[in-house]
């Protein structure tokens, strides 16, 4: 499942680059710094990306997630630092069934 989620996130980053004419270095893969001190996204960029990833997960997996809720904000380290931390967080949410399943 983690590999599927990683694929979805990387594909969405590719779409994000095209939609918003950005240049996120996809070749860095899991190490892409998203948000935080070394992050390449501003706050609006992060919001747009999260919405796109939520939509992509819904399209591909039929799972409706809210990625940026109190739980995400209360994590010791932000899930939005890198692609790797984000993929781990999404996997955790799905595993914990902290989601709304939609058929």
């Amino acid at each position: 499942m983690r590999d599927r989620i990683l694929n979805i996130v990387l594909n969405t980053l590719n779409d994000f680059n095209e939609t918003y004419e950005k240049d996120i270095p996809l070749e860095l893969g899991e190490e892409i710094p998203l948000y935080g001190k070394k992050g390449i996204l501003d706050s609006l960029g992060l919001v747009s990306l999260i919405v796109m990833i939520e939509q992509a997960i819904e399209d591909e997996l039929d799972i409706s997630l809210i990625l940026a809720d109190e739980k995400a904000m209360s994590q010791k380290t932000s899930p939005f630092l890198t692609v790797s931390s984000l993929v781990n967080y999404i996997s955790l949410l799905i595993k914990e069934e902290n989601k709304l399943w939609i058929k």
Binding site: L44, S48, V51, E54, Q55, E58, D62, S64, L100, I102
Partner: protein, 232 residues
């Protein structure tokens, strides 16, 4: 799909039903919803039976819309309830119902629609306020307050959604002869109407005319505004 997709809440009767017919006549694919099934059908119209404040049901509805239509161009948050009562006699359950339908419903539909709209970098959201707020209508404290929340909500999300080409505006109708004002005494209504610049009941056509303006492609520079009818 080139057809304009317009989603309207609270379409079973009243203003919502009229708006559904109005936009079907204009060639839109109209999607509507209400808690109970409507007693009417229309070509070019699809109905969902959903409580606008039920997050899971609302998200399921949007997933179906996304799969079937792929986009939403216009969202009209029409669903709303009122309850005429002195505030000293108003039960908490009434307050919660009003806030759920008027505020939570508008929030949920705006959030889910905007997620779809941002894909196309285009969208129009129209919310419903009321002249009861600026006219400080006695007996409608929570209704007026819930709609004041809608005005603030509109003003803030208009700014947050502007980078995505989505405009958000509010219409503030005067009393219109629908079920919503059935319980308001006649003399109260006349008193209210006399405080308008133009002293008459509003009509569903007045409402549709204003929404037509807000959702026009050419209205891309108009956002975060509240337009009260009747010169209030």
């Amino acid at each position: 799909m080139d057809k304009v997709i317009t989603l309207i809440t609270g379409t079973r009767k009243g203003i919502g039903k009229y708006l559904a017919e109005h936009y079907v006549r204009k060639g839109h694919q109209v999607i509507g919803c209400s808690r109970k099934e409507p007693e009417w059908t229309l070509d070019g119209y699809e109905h969902f039976q959903v409580d606008v404040a039920d997050e899971i049901a609302v998200k399921a509805m949007f997933l179906t819309i996304k799969k079937k239509y792929g986009k939403i161009d216009n969202l009209i948050n029409n669903a709303g309830i009122a309850s005429m009562n002195h505030f000293l006699l108003t039960p908490l359950s009434t307050v919660k119902n009003i806030l759920d339908t008027n505020v939570v419903g508008t929030f949920l539909f705006s959030r889910e629609a905007a997620k779809l709209m941002q894909r196309n970098k285009y969208g129009r959201i129209v919310n419903f306020a009321t002249v009861a707020t600026p006219l400080k209508l006695e007996g409608e404290a929570m209704y007026a307050a819930s709609k004041a929340a809608i005005i603030s909500f509109t003003e803030v999300i208009a700014r947050e959604l502007s980078p995505y080409g989505i405009t958000v505006n509010t219409i503030g109708p005067t009393p219109i002869e629908t079920d919503l004002i059935r319980s308001v005494p006649k003399d109260k209504l006349n008193e209210l109407i006399n405080r308008q610049s133009i002293s008459r009941f509003g009509t569903v056509e007045d409402v549709a005319n204003t929404i037509d303006f807000f959702i026009k492609k050419e209205s891309s520079f108009i956002t975060g505004q509240t337009l009260f009818l009747g010169g209030v």
